[in-house]
Amino acid sequence: MSKIKTSNNQEEVKAVSKKKRSPWVEVWRRLRQNKSAMFGLAIIGLLVFCAIFADLIAPYGIDDQDLRARFITPSRDYLFGTDNFGRDILSRIIYGSRVSLQVGFIAVGISALTGGALGAIAGFYGGRLDNVIMRFVDILLAIPGILLAISIVSALGPGLQNVMIAVGIGSIPSYARIVRASVLSLRDQEFVEAAKAVGANDFRIISKHIIPNSMAPIIVQATLGVAGAILSAAGLSFIGLGIQPPTPEWGSMLSSGRQYLRDYWHIATFPGLAIMITIFALNLLGDGLRDALDPRLKS
């Protein structure tokens, strides 16, 4: 038996001690080298921090109205100024990050899970099932996203939960297509065949072999998707169909500040900036992740 063993153990030590990392650790290593992606990640980290510790950070409460302090331009007491009810805009933006992140992540969660499952099933089984699912997806795709969201919200009524559902449904098609495409390419890989050969059932093959290997495009799409979802939710709120006041939501803050834009620029500007920076950061991170996950760049 001993003759079968590899003769060179020292070499193996070298080969492994040099790098012993799972594929995800390598993605993280590559991502870290990307400055703009790390910048994006830092901003998102800050935002998540704000959302979690809003109660501690925010200098004022959400609804603390001070009618004597209406329309105050940015000053030491009110860094971003106050709005028409004398509410501190900075505090409302900090609390608003909760709503925006919630909408972003949950809406993406809904679409990624539903779309991903549909795509995986369609791609793995093919044939008639594939046809039925993908035509349904095509129908969804034929309706403009914002129009679909507006119709869903009008049907279900405004409110946080319904906005998340509306925005989530709108982006199901893109996930379904991405996952289906990557499942199609993975389905015929030899490691999937190897799993079949040892008797693995379909559920195991999909969950253990196909999904983990199609994560990369989903992660990229989801990161960019969070940005899209936040923007859509803000848009819905802006036209009054989304989250209703007095809940501090960036889109509705922007909307209510609009009428004072000429005299009090700060009311609309800061929520707008908050939206812009968040989207920007998510896009930087998404692009960085795309590069880090791209196997063609793997050394």
Binding site: S7, N8, E11, K14, K18, S299
Partner: protein
């Protein structure tokens, strides 16, 4: 070997890749020469530096990370290393041309094969479109494809036919040197036999010199005059085909022969080389082959072997032979 004029002389050529993980010494102090009409086989396993050598001759090593660190590549009396890219462009595809391994990816899928051949001709020769097309048809006939098919696209040809088209492109300008990088590896044996036969005939017809890069010692025996065996960037043995096959000297060469199942004899077990190719960023000290060498001595890990001429025209880089010199 010395008396005919050398078309290409490579002297002390070193090519390194500078990467995040360290410096890869892809080619180390290489010395080779090729006479007019001669075929040199460049043999080695994955990562031995064969393809880098080929790219180095064309000065096409991707830079960064690759860089020609030192040495000369004297082609028709001129050093290619010192030439500017625009001067080199006149040589590439014209006097030196290259055939790649994969006939699927080395042809442009949206251009007809005739246009692809004509393009090279127009680039290097002062001809008009009609003459170039005529030349393209002529070249197709030469490689055994009816000239009338020049309006066909690559996907309309089989793998073997595509490699013929690639050969036609490579030979369209009558190059004096042809570098073939594993030209038949992607092909089936019966097709490989056809293509090798074709290359041999065309080489005689055009009196082209050739560098044949391959891992297949069988292919070398069939088409080459001289052979250089590469290991971890070094040419470890260099001689004419007859000597190499009748009396290989370097333990690695001997190991390679022991690893191939020989169709002409009945051996029950192969005699493989132990261990693995070294990590290119971490080549063993001294002789790079010493950890795998069955004849390694203490000194092998300490000192790099010099290129030793064990008999006239037979060079070996191995410490076993250094003291036997003269």
């Amino acid at each position: 070997m010395k008396d005919n004029k050398n078309l290409l002389e490579i002297k002390d050529l070193s090519i390194h890749y500078i990467t995040d993980d360290g410096t890869v010494r892809a080619v180390e102090e290489m010395n080779l020469e090729i006479g007019v009409g001669e075929t040199l086989g460049l043999v080695g396993e994955t990562g031995a530096g064969k393809t880098t050598t080929a790219l180095g001759i064309m000065n096409l090593v991707p830079n960064p990370p690759g860089k020609i660190i030192g040495g000369e590549i004297v082609f028709e009396g001129e050093d290619l290393v010192k030439k500017s890219q625009s001067e080199l462009r006149k040589i590439r595809g014209n006097k030196i041309s290259m055939i790649f391994q994969d006939p699927m990816t080395s042809l442009n899928p949206v251009m007809t094969v005739g246009d692809q051949i004509a393009e090279v001709v127009k680039l290097h020769q002062n001809v008009n479109a009609a003459e170039a097309t005529e030349r393209a048809m002529e070249m197709l006939e030469k490689v055994g494809i009816p000239g009338t098919r020049h309006k066909d696209f690559p996907h309309q040809f089989s793998g073997g036919m595509r490699q013929r088209v690639v050969i036609a492109i490579a030979l369209a300008c009558n190059p004096t040197l042809l570098i073939a990088d594993e030209p038949t590896t992607a092909l089936d044996v019966t097709i490989q036999a056809q293509v090798l036969d074709l290359m041999r005939n065309l080489k005689h017809e055009f009196n082209t010199s050739m560098i044949m890069i391959t891992h297949d010692l069988g292919v070398v025996a069939e088409v080459c005059d001289k052979v250089a065996i590469m290991y971890a960037g070094n040419v470890i043995e260099y001689t004419d085909v007859k000597r190499l096959y009748t009396s290989p000297k370097h333990p690695y060469t001997i190991g390679l022969f022991g690893s191939i199942p020989d169709i002409e004899s009945d051996e029950s077990r192969l005699k493989p080389i132990k261990g693995l190719m070294p990590d290119p960023t971490n080549i063993p000290s001294g002789c790079p082959f010493h950890p795998r060498c069955p004849k390694a001595m203490d000194i092998c890990s300490q000192r790099k072997p010099k290129n030793t001429e064990v008999e006239p025209g037979h060079f070996v880089k191995c410490l076993l032979f250094e003291n036997t010199e003269k």
